[in-house]
Structure formats: structure tokens, C-alpha cells
Symmetry: C2
Subunit: 342 residues, 2 copies
């Protein structure tokens, strides 16, 4: 701290106030101190900070979506572990980049948590500096986050399980509905699930036709639109791989409305094993979501106890239901009228 | 307070410690003080308490389910309002009666919130005493809660919109799949939605056949089982009213598997307008869920500002999709083979 103060040309007290984001520090001074701290890669150790500041017995959970099944289920698993350990959960919904900036700007202003758990979103460089200047533990779940212990699935491996299943069934014209979160377009889930498609087709010696890939914002209705786009091709795919079950369920609606039969005319596979997938007889690649939240909670407890908390990659598995089958011989045009199709 | 102490035969200090659930008070003493406080219906006024204890700028949210769409969406709306007001949200998942007792027992031990918002669950008498002894504001959302400002729908009115729609279409044999939350069997949503069914049939001069009513624990798979039970009748219903969309979606799976056509053979209507309802073409009675969370958040802000916060009942509306139609003339047995049914 003395080095930081010297380099920034301020008193120890000012340096300390600046690093703890104390209100009464000029922005220019704070910037100089943060810069000096960064140059010296000065980091308050969480333990030291907890001993100094004392434990708050609170953990902040940062999540980009609350009402979506995936994030709410991660949160439920995480909360159960933290509650059993008598830790309180402070919930922060950061809906967009501005919310996130705001959250990371303010959190250090009043160090009020012992750890921060980031669910299903990345952490940008500047945000890392903030988090680390707080001297709190950081854990991520529902996705790989650089520099921090994370628990997640292997998205590329999950995608391969889905596409390899379609290839094994004999499909050669396979469409992909790629879903990106408009809030986190760079989030690795999308790229990993997309890469799996390309790699699987190449390994199978099949061409990757750009027209068979539709990228839409995440969501069921987007999936419905994407499926319509695939049906506008001169030769639509015989099977569709969707990046998530909600997207796949939307695609199924479009197929139902056209009178096409699932799986006789077109097979559909998703990823997640959303509770609705079972009700829709959707074949999918299941990921253990609640378990990822539980694992993140246990990682927080280890870190707070001064122990190590290695990250983890949890396995996914194919769940075969009624929406996938070998390519049907019956051409779509021979499908019975729509009234028979629901 | 002096009266409470005198009646309990303890010092003011002890009475105060007992009421604030201070650790170093014998259970027997605490019980005597709480009893005295109750006899004198002694309640710390939230304002007084906040002046004394100071504002914590935290609000506790108590919810029986996190991962279910309805509760997560309420939470998302509530969090958005509280966050904009710079209040922190402490999340407490109380999965069962034991969790709830535990939550209400401990919360007063350290008064750390300015208000408690209860989402989609009742508050028992003993719990009320606890909450009120804390001197915090209390608001409920997603259901009517006695004694506290609540925002919710009118479940009986919503049920009437669903059943009256089926009656208008000409259905005379209408089944009901009643869903009860095993955690909160007494929760009024169920009874209100069930009463609507009975009242609608009676007004229409139709008999209420016990065999046409199946009550199951909440959930999609329960809905699937309940539909199977209705199909085991000598004369199944021509339309089914489900207490929630998830339950209705389960019922639709059973119908699809039997090869029965929706709506030609059997109509299905739900309540909620779950995002999946749109993807499944399910006719439903929509309730504004996020808005109920937002309204609860605004009620909290008014109460914290010392203003009044009247409860509210938000309107529901029928959303007609493809799962309801007049009773079809085509008997089920003439339905085409299953492969054509998806």
C-alpha cells in the first residue's frame, strides 16, 4: 500500500480511501491510485481484507436474467448452499452493459459482501479490476470465466453429442439454429455450441452450407422464425440442431403449423433439458443446472474458509425422446392436412 | 415497552433484548416477554424502529420457489424497482414449512432489512407476530395475504374466464385438473380457481361430476397423469380446464400420445400465459406477472417513505390460441394413427 501511495504521490490514507472507493476522493486522484495499484499489481488479499473489515456474511450474486429457467435454477442451487451456511444472498440483476458497469462501479463503494458469484455471464477486464480491488472472492457458474474458478458444462462437447446423434441417425442435411444472447453476444456458450456443429460436419465429410445455419437472438419465438427461414430453402434440412431447448420448442411450433411431422419429416434436438422439453417429447442434451449452482456455492464456502476451490466442468448427456429419428422416406408434401398435426 | 416489561416481570432492557431476539435471553424469558407483548398487542412502528435502528437499505424477499417461471418473474419485476431505488435485495428461498419457520425465527435475531416482501405464499399467524415484532414493513405479491398490502390477480375471476370460454364454445362435459402446491396446500390460488369451475357449471345448469375433477400436485408431469386419469373415464370430457399452463402442457402431452387431436377431440385451457403456452398454441388466461413484482416494489417504496400502499388486484385476460374449439363431431376412435399426431 505504501508503494502504491508513493507511486501515486498521495498519502497512505488517501491511497487506502481511493482503493476502497471511499466517496470523498477526487476521481482524478482515485484514477491515479488505481493506476499505480495496477502497475504494481497490488491486490488486497481477501483474507486480509476480511480480517480487517470483518466478514459481512453476505454473498453477492450477479445474474443477467432472473426469470429464465436456466439462471433461476442456477440461483436456486446456489442459494440453497449459501443459506445452509448461514450466508445471506444479495441479488443483483444486471440486465445490460450499463447495469453491469453500474453494478461493478458501485459495489466497491461499500464493501458489503465477502464474495461475488457471477451466473452465466462473462467478466470484462475493467470489471475484474474493480472486483479485485474490493478484495472479495469471485466465483462463476453456468459458464467458463477466465481468471476465476468456474463451474460449467463443455459447450462444444454438448453440441457434439447433439449433432453426432443426428449424424448417427443418418441425417446428412442438418440445420443449426444458433441463439445468441443480445446482452452477452461474446459469451462462449454460443461459439462453443456452434463450433461443435462445424467440426462434426467436417469430420463426417459433409459440406457446411451457410444457408443451413440461422443465427437469432435467444428465445422461443426467435426459434420459430429461424425454423421458418430454414423451411424457405429450396431443400430444407431433414434435422435441426438448436442451441437451446426454448429455441427448439419454437422451431417445433413452426413445424406443427406447416403440418410437417416430427420426427418423420424433420428431427429436432436441443440443449439443456428444460422441464418443458420432457413435456414436448424433445430430444436434448441434458446439463445439470441446479448442480452447477450448488457447486458454485461450495466453491464460495471453500474460498471463505481459506481453502482452494478448483473449477469444474460438469458432464452433459443425450436424452433421447420422440423428436429425433432417421430421415423419413415420406416427403413433406404427402403429409396429411394440418388439422391432423397437433 | 415499559408495560410489556412490567407485565413480563423483567427489566426494560431485557424486554427490549427479548423483542429484538437478542441471543443472550433465556428462551423462557423471551417467551414470557413475547406473550406480554402480544397481550398488550405491542408493535414497534416501522418508522420508529427505522429511526432508532437506522435504515438498512435492504429488503428481504421470501419466495417458496426460485426456479419456477411465475416466482422468478415476480422476483425480476420486484428487483428492478428496488435496485432503481438503490435498495439491496436479500433473497430467501423457503422451500418448505421448516425453512419458513427457520426464516421467520432467525430474521428478527438481527434486524437487517427495512421491509419483507413475500412472493406467492401465505403468512401464518405466528410468522406475522415475528414479522411485526421486527418492526419492518411487509408486502405480499403473487397472491392475497391477509393483514398486509398485496398485489395479485383474482383467481376466481381468472378461473371463470377460462371455464366460461369453454362453456361459450358449447362444451358440456368439462374436466378440471386442479393443481395444489404441496408446500402451500392452503394457498388461496387453488381454492379460488376451483370455486370458479363449480360456480360456472352450476350457473350453466350443468351437473358437477366428481369424476371430471382431478387434483394433483403442481407440475407438468402431474398434469400428464391427471389427463390420463380423465381418459380412463367411460365418457371423457370434451374440454379440460387446468389450473396452470405447466399443468395444461402436461395434459397436452398425454393427448398427443393417445393420438387425440387438440382441439378437434379435446380442448385445453390453462391459466398464466407462461412463455411456453405461446409456443404450444395453448389458449390461456394471461396474468401480468412481472407487473405484480413491480407493483410490490412500488408499494415497498411508498411504505418506506411513510406513505400509504394500498393493495391491488391486477386484471387477467383470455388469450385464445389453437387449443380450444367447439366440441368436435369426430369421435376420438376415428383419429388417425399416432405417427401423424405430433
Amino acid at each position: 500500500m505504501a508503494d502504491v501511495a508513493r507511486r501515486a504521490g498521495v498519502s497512505m490514507a488517501t491511497a487506502s480511501r481511493a482503493l476502497s472507493n471511499h466517496p470523498h476522493v477526487a476521481e482524478e486522484t482515485r484514477a491515479r491510485v488505481l493506476a499505480a495499484a495496477e502497475q504494481l499489481s497490488y491486490v488486497i488479499s481477501p483474507e486480509a481484507s476480511r480480517l480487517a473489515g470483518g466478514a459481512t456474511d453476505r454473498v453477492a450474486v450477479v445474474v443477467p436474467h432472473i426469470s429464465r429457467w436456466f439462471f433461476a435454477t442456477l440461483l436456486e442451487g446456489l442459494e440453497s448452499v449459501l443459506r445452509d451456511a448461514d450466508l445471506d444472498v444479495l441479488l443483483y440483476h444486471v440486465g445490460d452493459a450499463a447495469d453491469r458497469r453500474d453494478f461493478f462501479q458501485r459495489l466497491p463503494a461499500r464493501r458489503k459482501v465477502d464474495a461475488v458469484v457471477v451466473l452465466g455471464m462473462p467478466i470484462a477486464g475493467g470489471e475484474r479490476d474493480r472486483l479485485e480491488s474490493m478484495g472479495v472472492h469471485i466465483v462463476a457458474a453456468g459458464g467458463q470465466v477466465e481468471h476465476y474458478p468456474s463451474v460449467s458444462i463443455d459447450d462444444a462437447a454438448a453440441g457434439r453429442q447433439a449433432v453426432d446423434h443426428l449424424l448417427f441417425l443418418g441425417h446428412r442435411r442438418i440445420g443449426m439454429i444458433a441463439a445468441i444472447d443480445p446482452i452477452e453476444p461474446g459469451w462462449p456458450a454460443g461459439p462453443g455450441r456452434a463450433r461443435a456443429y462445424h467440426e462434426a460436419l467436417i469430420e463426417a465429410g459433409l459440406p457446411v452450407e451457410p444457408g443451413l445455419v440461422v443465427t437469432v437472438p435467444w428465445g422461443g419465438l426467435s426459434g420459430a422464425d429461424a425454423m421458418a427461414q430454414l423451411l424457405s430453402l429450396r431443400e430444407p434440412p431433414t434435422a435441426v440442431y438448436a442451441h437451446s431447448d426454448e429455441v427448439a420448442l419454437g422451431a417445433m411450433r413452426t413445424l406443427r403449423r406447416t403440418g410437417l411431422r416430427i420426427p418423420e419429416d424433420i428431427s429436432v434436438v436441443g440443449i439443456d433439458d428444460h422441464p418443458m422439453a420432457e413435456l414436448a417429447d424433445l430430444t436434448t442434451v441434458a446439463q445439470p443446472v441446479r448442480e452447477q449452482g450448488v457447486a458454485a456455492g461450495k466453491m464460495v464456502l471453500s474460498l471463505l474458509a481459506g481453502a482452494a476451490a478448483p473449477g469444474a466442468v460438469v458432464p452433459t448427456r443425450l436424452v433421447v425422446r420422440g423428436s429425433t429419428a432417421p430421415p423419413g422416406s415420406s416427403p413433406a408434401r404427402s403429409a396429411a392436412p394440418r388439422r391432423g398435426r397437433r
